[in-house]
Symmetry: D2
Subunit: 354 residues, 4 copies
């Protein structure tokens, strides 16, 4: 089952970048959940392409059509399916890459996996376009989480060699380029523009916070909160690293500094003075905010000449990739990270009563 | 399903640190796989406690008893179950922690999840002791992977602020403290000893390589190789971060430097000049070595005084933890990482014929 | 996960009887499978309503639109999604049944499960209409099974008190009313017509055969062939019973008569003289034809007055149901049974190489 | 996953008839469930062999050893594992059947599935002995269901050509041979004895009732109550048929007679006048008793000469099977059916809060 996620809800993704449509089915979603379509569309627009300098010029409206699962705007308990038609597709751009796989792309591994039958157009099922239906599902659940007092918000922590270490306690107002420190934001945008001008791309780091998750969610060992989040977060294209709480810096710490002392919080509830655990101990939530960071590689779509291998002649060749691409995927990835986190969080939440 | 892993094989872990026994069942393991018990025991001894300065003084033989699934030393196709009896247990040490949860431990989250019914002795089901059955299962599969030309080996990359950046191309001879650079190894051991002398603990990073994995394994989106590995790797106690290939450093790179150029290798097969992808593109293996790194937090078991909350009186108190603990879990975690990687790799491999 | 089936392929169904569309996603379907759309449509027409005396007068073309998963007519390895638009819907017919549940229908249990949010129109997600996407998925796999030398065909064994005990060795020519013995067929149709004239309905039994399934498929205990088939066969609306091979008559037999003696068949391969086992021993196929029978209750949609309870007033009332219904679902169920069997068989077949 | 059952709890079975031990792990069982070991043992004794004329003379005490998952007699939330040692095993009896498979047994299909590596002793993993751990798990859950006001009880409905059609409203006092009508019971026992005297065996039907299950449990389509029960019920060795409520007799009924009219029951709650639905409509419980019947084939172990094929010489031969066997498995199957039903029911119940 390659494109299905969840234990209590089941998200099934389908579609290729240039197929008739892409979409998703949310199976097992409880009845009685309201879908605010306007807010959902606003959320989807944060991910939609073609809206600014650091995004591909391929423009798609990304308006979901709900085929079933709703009665009016309320879920009826049946699987919820929404599709997005693909309109602005240029398949001609991609015919070459079956023979000459693009470095950093899935062209070559798709060939190994699907034996020539894969759909190369726009990256097929591997395309970042598949993150649109993730945002449809996640956007609906973000609304429901908010009704349950749970806030999920992410920010750009780093692009290239520019990082923003300001504290992150609230959603960032500028949703198109969500960086806390405005000076850092400007530097980052310069960095992206410079890469674009060179026909190059650049990577970055996204940080996400989930506030208000109840304690006691998750299971030890293989179904721990980290494992559940990791499965969907590593499904986001270009993600190469994931850390919770102190993450890799924990490796350099001593226990006396890393252990989060328990305390009585102002609201009288139990919490921890610090949150190196990122809200998770033994795979189970402790009631503190869940915090994680995702490393995104630079998008592999660049126009500078690269070396590849011609799979027919089995000779090394130079490849020059044209087409429309993001010089930096990170800004558009932010809502995708929020959506994926919402899916993992809501799936967990459905176990709370047990 | 909190303690079951795998799609084609199903590993089920059971046991608490101080229960009669701990163990595992491997369901769906094919028939005809030979178990070299001597080599398996040697592998288990690498993880077993009580063997050196940086390990807990709790000594367990960790000799697995196979209850079923074998005919002689060959799997018969039925579920393979092995148990390890717990002998050297001192439950008295732990009674206190139901009321006064230890910072950094799962005492508090276990209370939230199991409502007072959890078994606190030795950390119960959350104990690092549960990695022993992971090593029994993984140790068997490591033997089978080797028969298929696949090598899995890990090393200590960092402990505290000492790292070893030497290239990692082969298993490290010293399996008790597997570091490539001997000077770095000595520095790391000093760091661990210093922490131990202070009643403190220290974290680290483990790097693992899988050589010889065929290309074309894995699926796009939610069942990608990263997602499958992540589920089991984050199940290893104390893991807070995971990165594949270039990982978090990819965030600072440009596409022109990060994309791995395809090439014809000396053996005439297709490969890549660099391996920033860590052997995975679009969630599918490309035939290059799979490389990942795991960040381990310092073990929370320390004897310096710490602040906690008394759950009965709801007052903040100072806690001094006695008992037998590892000042640094990283050396003993190395075989666990190899075992977990073998489980994920073998589970993937069972799909190769499809 | 209420509407997902399969271990190796994953069939996800979605849609309500009167929603925009109904459809299915086949996830994990291998690449390279050809879809003969003309043959598929012919197969779907066998199930489609409104074509004869014993079928509802609701007429739907049931032409699937493939949204993704194909390159031309060949699967590309990505999830395959097809939708069927609902056109000839009359929702007005159903508004009453939220308050006055129809006996034998899911109106009342849907209320208990979905708390008033369910979509009652046309039975919502419970409607027999959901068997159309089962036939789209199964119809595609029936073609692929045939390419692998596997034939799947079913017949009407009984309607009401008329049964046809003739041997069943080949598909029945008359696919609209597939009964081997023509006299029995005429009697059955009379029985259906008589029920229809009374505003009543009648039940029946369908028998299905799978020829050419290799031996050695399936697993002991919970993933036996019977268990795998049972999960999808009991998902067909109105099915109340399932038996394999000798089934319930085995209860009246002695072992000496029931055990199938092994023999060398004319083709030199091992078989059994009789086939009381229905091709399955210990949950695993033995190479003989798989044979099963399904009992269908009379469709609950009848127009004679019935007693129900008004959920608002909590009083017993008499209900008279209008609307368009099948007096006997059995003839249209035959292709659905073949499709469901094909899904179970193909899912099994993907494990053959293991 | 061949030997794992459940969505919310996960039952993992392991062991072969003559391996060191057989056993089970219940993963995901909630904390706080009390295990009355005495009542559990009494329940296990109903299934244990060697206690009367119609049971194999192989005598096993079947006393489970709990390895983990309990704190005292209360579940602690960790996986619950219990093992039963195999003592009275005579492996010599079985060596012959690898070459000469017994008709009606899994000898031949095990050979096809496991390629000569299978453990033939006592039927290996296919043995009815594996129903003992099912009874350990189910016996624990039967106690918990009872605490929740749910009663599960089964009876022998038929053996050979003798059936007992008396109404079944309460557990039968004689648990060793649970038949309501004592005259029928005597006739059945004569039938079993006669078969035994001839070295033959005989089949039968078991009927099971679940009282007190709340309405609204289950899901439409593939996770309907029938599908969930069917997966575990068909896992019981020798089961060839399953029907719910009116089952196969529904095929002969008209809708006007089959539809269960809704009514207000004496307790003021909604029920149905009849219960042809067997407590399930649209895959969801309606609050009426769940009723199902299972057809058991005659146990294939008979001592009369039978025809088989010698897999080495590929010639037809006559086989005479010795060894200790049940002439009729049905009486000992009754508690197994109750245990399996309890597992399915409890797994369902864990979804009730959703």
């Amino acid at each position: 089952m390659s494109s299905i996620y969840g234990r209590n809800i089941r998200l099934s993704l389908f579609g290729q970048s240039h197929s008739e449509a892409i979409g998703m089915t949310l199976d097992g979603i409880p009845s009685g959940i309201r879908v605010d379509r306007e807010r959902l569309q606003h959320f989807l627009n944060r991910r939609a392409p073609g809206r600014n300098a650091w995004s591909t010029s391929r423009r798609e409206e990304d308006i979901p059509e709900f085929l079933c699962g709703l009665k009016g705007d309320i879920t009826c308990g049946a699987p919820l399916t929404a599709v997005i038609r693909n309109r602005n597709a240029r398949s001609a751009d991609y015919s070459e890459f079956i023979v000459k796989p693009r470095p950093g792309h899935a062209d070559y591994t798709a060939e190994l996996r699907y034996h020539g039958y894969q759909d190369p157009a726009g990256g097929g099922h591997f395309s970042g376009r598949l993150t649109a239906p993730i945002c449809v599902a996640g956007g609906i659940l973000l609304q429901e989480l908010e009704r349950n007092g749970i806030r999920v918000y992410a920010r750009i922590l780093r692009i290239g060699d520019i990082s923003d270490d300001s504290p992150f306690l609230n959603p960032v107002p500028d949703q198109a380029f969500p960086v806390v420190d405005e000076t850092a934001a400007m530097e980052m945008q310069k960095c992206v523009q410079a890469a674009k001008d060179r026909g190059d791309s650049v990577g970055g780091v996204v940080e996400c916070v989930l506030e208000g998750m109840p304690g006691g969610l998750g299971d030890p060992i293989f179904d721990g909160v980290e494992s559940r989040f990791a499965q969907i977060l590593f499904a986001i294209p270009a993600v190469k690293g994931l850390e919770f709480g102190s993450g890799f810096s924990a490796a350099q710490m001593f226990g006396s500094a890393h252990n989060d002392p328990f305390c009585i919080r102002d609201d009288g509830r139990i919490g921890t003075v610090t949150n190196h655990a990122g809200g998770i101990l033994g795979g189970i939530t402790n009631g503190m905010p869940i915090i994680f960071r995702l490393a995104f590689k630079p998008t592999p779509s660049i126009s500078v000449p690269q070396q590849t291998v011609n799979l027919q002649t089995m000779t090394e060749e130079t490849l020059c990739v044209q087409g429309r691409h993001d010089p930096c995927i990170v800004p558009r990835a932010v809502p995708v990270v929020e959506a994926a986190a919402a899916l993992a969080a809501y799936d967990l939440l459905l176990e709370v009563q047990r």
